[in-house]
Amino acid sequence: MTNTTDDSKEVEDLEIALLLEGMFKRYGYDFRDYSLAHLRRRLRHRMESSSLPDMGAMLHRVLHDRSFFELLLRDLSINVTEMFRDPDIYLRIRTEVVSRLKTYPFVKIWHAGCATGEEVYSMAILLHEEGLLERCQIYATDFNQIALKKAKAGIYALDQIRQFTANYQKSGGRESLSDYYTADDHSVILKNWLKKKVVFADHNLVTDSVFSEMQLVVCRNVLIYFNRELQNRIFQTFYESLCPGGFLWLGSKESLRLSPMNKHFDPLFADEKIYKREL
């Protein structure tokens, strides 16, 4: 029995490798260095939902059917986010980081993997309240076109606003969150002026080139889906994208600690995932 299960695992792993290779060669999206445990889950889930017999059948389908590829793309990108997610850390950004950003004549911020944009608007609101937004340029990028379109629209479900508001208040918000949106029966629509310093762009962290001279890079809950090698590559990308002394802000469970790039960054606080690039 053990042998059969080991065999079937080996075959499935091979099929997954071929599937990822096929997706990369055919469509240019590279998932080959994603966390395998995560990939297995998502791909098996798609296989079952689409009633396919095995990963080999899925490879065939994805090569011949672009709409199926787009379905898979959605399965493989996790877009869980909210406004002012981890409000205590937003408070730290507001009280400790913004004052340092203010020393620059002009501030460039990159939200790498911005998903549906909630955190981009959170940042714009924070910068506005701290009187810095006018001097900022925010680049918000994601490889998922559907998510990016939502981000650009800035329209969110009304039932989320209670959570967003609670987060905003805990994050040190100075006004009322409702100052920044209009609401109808189903949704909240963020005010257009919040977008004036934001450029939304299609960009794939894994395959596309670096940005330059950023004062702050925000990349939260993106790297957890990557394997160690890819994480290191992306940390290198962030290093090259930041100005000396620039800030890197990771998700609350992400860390540079186990990466060789660790030596080029200093944590700003003991455990709060904000790092400063070496000079």
Partner: protein, 195 residues
């Protein structure tokens, strides 16, 4: 017998628990010796913004180290890892941890099924899965997967469980090897590896 611990093939223990978990884990984990030879990984359902208190509380009462699992950290022997609140916890083939924010699986994040199924991929027949008290059926699919891969399934005796829904669901879903009262599970694990 020489070095009987080598005889035990099980390389890891995964535990799933929901309502009544703190009490249940307190009854089990303090019985593990400091040099418990394999990692123990626990999914305890809890609130999305619950902090590190849970791990700290248990750590102070156990001989083994109890901590929250960190992303990319390697699962080491003599250590109990708790899934952090609001993230799924998975094991990779190289025995490191991954976290994901994939949506809730049957209302749960962390989900017991997610941990158990990924651990079954990694450890195959060399895995022990344990389901304890809880008010839902999370974990029963995962336990069935562990059995399918040839691993060992243990379930807390529903009689005497603080909430019996989860143990009952697990017993229905999988061919369970041992049904034990809470008080016996810690000793069972300790004895398994005793020299």
């Amino acid at each position: 017998m020489t070095r009987p611990s080598k005889r035990v093939p099980y390389e890891a223990v995964v535990i799933g628990v929901s309502a009544g978990g703190l009490h249940a884990l307190r009854a089990i984990l303090p019985r593990l010796p400091k040099n418990f030879p394999v990692p123990v990984v626990v999914v305890q359902h809890r609130g999305a913004d619950s902090d590190g208190f849970f791990a700290e509380y248990l750590d102070q009462r156990c001989l083994v180290q109890v901590k929250e699992a960190e992303e990319k950290e390697e699962a080491a022997p003599g250590t109990v890892y708790l899934a952090p609140a609001n993230y799924h916890l998975l094991l990779e083939d190289d025995r490191t941890f991954s976290l994901t924010l994939e949506s809730r699986v049957r209302f749960a994040r962390p989900s017991i099924d997610v941990l158990f199924e990924s651990a079954a991929d990694v450890y195959g027949a060399n895995l022990i899965g344990i389901i304890l008290t809880g008010a839902n059926d999370d974990g029963s699919r995962g336990l069935a997967t562990i059995k399918k891969r040839g691993g060992l399934a243990v379930v807390q005796d529903p009689v005497g469980a603080e909430v019996d829904t989860m143990p009952k669901a697990a017993l229905q879903a999988a061919k369970v090897d041992f049904v034990l009262p809470l008080a016996a599970i810690g000793q069972f694990l300790a004895n398994l590896y005793e020299e």
